[in-house]
Amino acid sequence: MHKALVMEVDACTGCHQCELMCSYGKVGAFNTAKSVMDITIYDGGAINVPSTCTQCQEAWCMVVCPVQAITVNPATGAKEVSAEACVGCKVCTIACPFGAINYDPDSGVVTKCDLCGGEPMCVEACPTTALAYVAEDSTGYDKMRRSATLAAGLEA
């Protein structure tokens, strides 16, 4: 059973610690623009929504990639981008209905959450319970999967 990254809106304070650690893990710099975990803040800071890739089963990004640059890590279930194989065509960035895979002009390839190989740094950085890395059958994960299916509308 794979574990899943679960995000709980009500517990997020919008502190951005997760984004800082994520970018540090990804590019070795504390730069929220390079984070693949994103906190969206609205209503004047009243609501903070953490979001990243939910590692969909039938991942749109993976299916649409023309050069098989996105593959499944069997240990974690994460859909991982090969920077060598990615040509930078960006078609995955419009195919993902969550906006969770994005192009990085500095590297010329797309980036997304890879669960840090099974030890997500964002979860370690989170000072509240907003981010957790737990067994896939937890309620929060089911809820996310459902909304993923809804958003997709594509049942195949």
Binding site: T40, I47, V67, Q68, T93, A95, Y103, G108
Partner: protein, 418 residues
């Protein structure tokens, strides 16, 4: 059960792999017309710039991928289909029997009816071999004229600039990528290209290409003449269908398919750039000729071939993204708007930024953007779920750039309520 797939492009491979997933005992035969292992035309621009090798354009990375998945990939060109006899004929006369057939023969370039096209310095950019030939012709300092500024034209344009050729682009439409971008977005793309040293002619066609041993003269209908060392023709594509003459398969713009991706002939399906399938935005059928539609078509067709038409498809959302010399443009769905609809717009020509959102009531139905590359996928999410925007519609009208906030806001509201 023997499934035969005519073609070996993205729709064909997506279908073959999904057939294998759904039916472990299926016999699956793919018929590819190209000499190379199945490759992606979308990757050719990056082969032209040297970002990837030829192997980097292949649809699947491991050499034995097809064999390992029990997919029989054969080289050949389908020249005829016999739905009654349940067979296809290949160029060498060989007949292959099928139980279910998928037509995924893709598209081919449209060649404008202009004199001089046969000169070897006039090149399509469609097959890998074309790309290799262009690499020889497009030496630094060479004068290149690119005919057509559509989807493919705008992506390959960067290859010429990186190869340091002097580039002139000729587009017959009123703006660059007229089938994907509105007037303001197309205008921003044009001024961006011009600022990078590209000469852009719109609203004019090539009348003739005159050859001399030293150079080509590209004569335009607006009276101008462009001298060139190489001419690249990218004037659009059309479904590849010539092998279907006289076999009673319904053809309009492409092969007409129903919600199960089936043609008018039982057990004959079609997918990808050759198929005219349901369009999510209009409810009618259309040829999209884009990668997301091709891979979805392939998977939906495979599911229906295995499951006897048990998976109706709601249609594909047309979408496109281009990176032209570093300026990212994208389009989704009904970007031109719908009758009785409403819109929101942000136009910042100084920064080459633009967002245009199209609504029907409080549902997003289409979008264009220029100069943004982050979280664009949320546009698909908002359009395909048809989720009511509620108060977020007014917020988007105030600031169309706040898309991620709107996306999270409406989804959070939906989760709270149900």
């Amino acid at each position: 059960m023997h499934y035969v797939i005519a073609g070996a492009g993205p729709a064909a491979i997506a279908a073959a792999e999904h057939l294998r997933e759904l039916d472990a005992s299926a016999q699956v035969t793919l018929i590819g017309a190209q000499a190379q292992p199945p490759y992606s035309r979308m990757a050719i621009p990056y082969f032209l710039t040297g970002k990837v090798s030829e192997e980097g354009t292949y649809l699947r990375r491991s050499q034995d991928h097809y064999e390992a998945h029990g997919l029989n990939l054969i080289h050949g060109e389908v020249t005829a289909v016999d739905p009654k006899g349940r067979s296809v004929t290949l160029g060498d006369g060989q007949k292959i029997k099928y139980d279910k057939l998928l037509l995924a023969t893709g598209a081919e370039p449209i060649i404008p009816p202009v004199s001089g096209m046969e000169d070897p310095r006039v090149q399509q950019c469609w097959h890998l071999e074309d790309a290799e030939r262009i690499i020889e012709l497009a030496k630094p300092g060479a004068r290149a004229v690119q005919v057509g500024a559509g989807f493919i034209g705008c992506i390959i344009l960067e290859s010429w600039v990186l190869r340091e050729v002097n580039l002139t682009v000729v587009e017959m439409g009123p703006r660059m990528v007229p089938r994907m971008l509105g007037e303001k977005a197309g205008g921003l793309l044009q001024s961006w290209c011009e600022a990078k040293g590209v000469t852009v002619h719109t609203n004019t066609q090539v009348k003739a290409i005159e050859s001399t041993p030293d150079e080509l003269q590209v004569v335009l209908e607006n009276g101008e003449t462009c001298p060139a060392d190489v001419v690249i023709v990218s004037t659009g594509v059309k479904p590849r269908l010539h092998y279907l003459e006289g076999c009673d398969i319904d053809i309009d713009q492409g092969i007409v398919v129903d919600a199960h991706m089936q043609t008018n002939q039982p057990d004959v399906y079609a997918a990808g750039d050759c198929a005219q399938g349901l369009d999510f935005s209009t409810g009618e059928t259309a040829v999209h000729a884009v990668q997301p539609t091709a891979t979805e078509h392939g998977r939906i067709a495979a599911a229906n071939m295995v499951g006897n038409n048990n998976l109706p498809y709601k249609g594909s959302l047309n979408m496109n993204i281009l990176d032209t010399l570093g300026l990212v443009t994208c389009s989704f769905g009904a970007w031109e708007g719908v009758a009785g609809g409403d819109s929101a717009e942000m136009y910042n020509p100084d920064n080459h930024q633009y967002v245009n959102l199209q609504f029907k009531d409080d549902v997003l139905v289409g979008a264009n953007s220029v100069g943004y590359h982050e979280h664009l996928g949320v546009l698909r999410g908002l359009i395909e779920t048809q989720i009511p925007l509620g108060e977020w519609k007014d917020r988007l009208k105030d600031n169309p750039v706040n898309l991620v906030e709107a996306y999270q806001g409406v989804n959070q509201a939906a989760l709270q309520n149900g």
